[in-house]
């Protein structure tokens, strides 16, 4: 599966854990920037433009920005879709419909307490794997990319 920052899909997919796991287990040589957020989370919404800018700025580079929404599934049509349209989000958005959080939080990263925003950045070929339970600005996000992408 090849995933680049920009998606042609008109609306976000609702996915289960298996689909997210297959992204985590990718053999791709892309850098993955996976942000966990929700429309109701103020610090998440505040940092979202930085992730979207990253996906635009790196669209010709092997970088996949994926915004994993933890909005409730019933809020898909009346919260998530309008939010994405209103804010012109161009990065790929997935809604993870896995309400039993305890089953998968540790599989993203053992250091994650479950608070959002949270971001995982990984690059399989260089074994780069960093997890952040914190908020990003655009410049701190660029700083968090693996060394080979910073130039």
């Amino acid at each position: 599966m090849i995933i680049y920052g920009q998606s042609d899909e008109p609306s976000p997919e609702i996915i289960k854990w298996d689909a997210l796991q297959s992204i985590l287990n990718t053999h791709s040589d892309s850098v993955y920037v996976i942000n966990f957020w929700a429309t109701w989370c103020k610090p998440c919404v505040a940092e979202l433009p930085s992730f979207d800018s990253l996906s635009v700025a790196y669209r010709n580079k092997p970088v996949a920005v994926i915004l994993v929404s933890l909005d409730f599934k019933r809020q898909y049509a009346d919260k998530l879709i309008p939010f994405i349209q209103k804010n012109n989000i161009s990065a790929r958005v997935l809604l993870l419909d896995e309400p039993e959080y305890d089953l998968w939080i540790n599989k993203i990263d053992k250091s994650w307490s479950g608070a959002i925003p949270a971001t995982l950045i990984f690059h399989k070929p260089s074994k780069y794997h960093h997890f952040y339970e914190e908020e990003f600005t655009y410049s701190s996000l660029i700083q968090a990319l693996p060394p080979h992408l910073k130039n």
Binding site: W40, C41, P99, E100, I105, G114, A115
Partner: protein, 206 residues
């Protein structure tokens, strides 16, 4: 030789300091002695563990007004208190958020919320955020179930309330209830730690 000794001493101090700092940042683990607090409740009372003499424990829940995950659990938190306060395990809710970042979570708004929802439990304001830091709370809601042994409170469970935030009707694991039931029955807690998605605690800027 002296140099080596100095180097080793420095190294030892660094390791100790490092370990200490790590502990401080980490908060409480299951089995640890709980830290006491002295906080103002929305009811106007000042509440601390040491003044709760006739209890067997306490269900400490870091929560707040504004967070949708906390709101989703409000009725279930009320139900927990009604079910377990008579058994000696009252709920003590603690709001740790910086009100300058989230005005909804100010003391006045806590009082309003407590009245609107007729909270039967104490809803405390951790204005200094020292209690949240001491416990290692990171999100709302975040439960620390305490049980009393020899007049001291110990942590018996840390984590979420149950396994479905949005659909109470689809809950299949009531983590807190199962843990309290086990404590009441004098049994060890089977699931003593879980993780859950929640709103990050809004810390003050240093």
């Amino acid at each position: 030789m002296l140099k080596t000794y100095r180097f080793l001493t420095t190294l030892l101090i660094l390791v100790l300091l490092g370990g200490f700092t790590f502990r401080f940042g980490h908060g409480l683990d299951v089995g640890d002695k709980a830290k006491d607090f002295r906080l103002l409740s929305a009811s106007g009372k000042t509440v601390s563990l040491s003044t709760m003499s006739d209890v067997k424990g306490a269900i400490i829940i870091f929560t707040c007004n504004h967070c949708p995950f906390s709101q989703a659990y409000e009725d279930r938190i009320i139900a927990l208190h009604k079910k377990y306060a008579p058994e000696g395990y009252p709920v003590i809710a603690i709001n740790p958020n910086d009100a300058s970042k989230v005005p909804d979570d100010s003391y006045e708004n806590m009082q309003k919320r407590a009245q609107e929802k007729s909270f039967p439990f104490e809803y405390l304001y951790d204005e200094s955020q020292e209690t949240a830091k001491a416990y290692g709370a990171s999100r709302t809601p975040h439960v620390f179930l305490l049980t009393k042994k020899n007049n001291k409170f110990y942590v018996a469970y840390i984590g979420g309330i149950d396994n479905n935030t949005d659909e109470p009707e689809n809950v299949t694991k009531k983590y807190v209830e199962e843990a309290v039931d086990e404590l009441i029955a004098g049994k060890p807690v089977t699931t003593s730690f879980t993780k859950a998605i929640g709103c990050s605690i809004k810390w003050k800027q240093n």
